[in-house]
């Protein structure tokens, strides 16, 4: 065992950081609003992963409770977000982030 490292909380945190960053980059470069949502979900998951890892490190259940709430939030967000997209797509099918530039300046 000594030769092989055991994953510590830190590992998870770094992983979460990576996923978070990927999510951020995704929001920046994807044009499809749906995919942008997905990237935001990635970011939320990174946060969740961090919470759980830190809960483990701290020996504190609170971090896990938070994740539960976050999942609710994520669900609600997705519902509203998809509702928005549906409403928009009804009028402007296949619209992308780059097309929604009526308001600017």
């Amino acid at each position: 065992m000594s030769a092989v490292a055991t994953p510590t909380t830190t590992w998870y945190l770094v992983l979460a950081a990576a996923v978070f960053s990927i999510g951020v980059v995704g929001v920046m470069i994807r044009r499809n609003p749906l995919v942008m949502f997905m990237c935001i979900e990635l970011m939320l998951n990174a946060a969740n992963l961090s919470f759980v890892a830190l809960a483990e490190r701290l020996g504190d259940i609170e971090g896990q409770s938070v994740v539960l709430f976050v999942m609710v939030v994520a669900a609600a967000e997705v519902v509203v977000g998809l509702g928005l997209i549906v409403a928009i797509y009804r009028r402007r099918p296949n619209v992308t982030a780059d097309d929604l530039i009526e308001l600017k300046g």
Partner: protein, 189 residues
Amino acid sequence: MIELFVFVAASAMVLVGALGVVLRRHPVHAALSLVLTLFGVAVHFVALAADFLAAVQVIVYAGAIVVLFLFVIMLLGVDRLEDLRIEPFKVQRPVAVVVGVAMVSLLGIAVAVSSDTGTATPGEGVAVAGFEGEALHDGNIIALARNVFGRHVFAFELTSVLLVVAVVGTVVLARRPRRGEATSDGAAS
């Protein structure tokens, strides 16, 4: 050893999935990559002694949310490929890369230098112990339940409001404009 293996494998799922979300051109593929990530995270949850959350992760996230995504994709027929090779904003992608690299490094540094051993007064643990302190198979759930419905009961109630908002919001959004109503497209700018 096994932990290491699980970690590496699950992390690979997570990362591959995450990259897939960002890089797959087809929205459906992106959604499926997201599922991969979510599963990976669920595995990590298990490894981190969050059994209940792992289950919820799979059920709610992978099961409900992603399905919702796919449903909308299908409903709207948003299955057009996104051409990731073209980028109207020349600076957008370099900025994204720089931001990504910088962010992962900064956050990485921040969390990597944090100490695993430093907790002077560790908390009460993520699972409830039995009478004699033996581990209970549902210790985590009990602990979580106590925490959620005890300490965080206000937050829990707040989620209900949140869900009401989501429901009402969707109703408002989904309502179609009555026929014959003029629209004011373009008049705003």
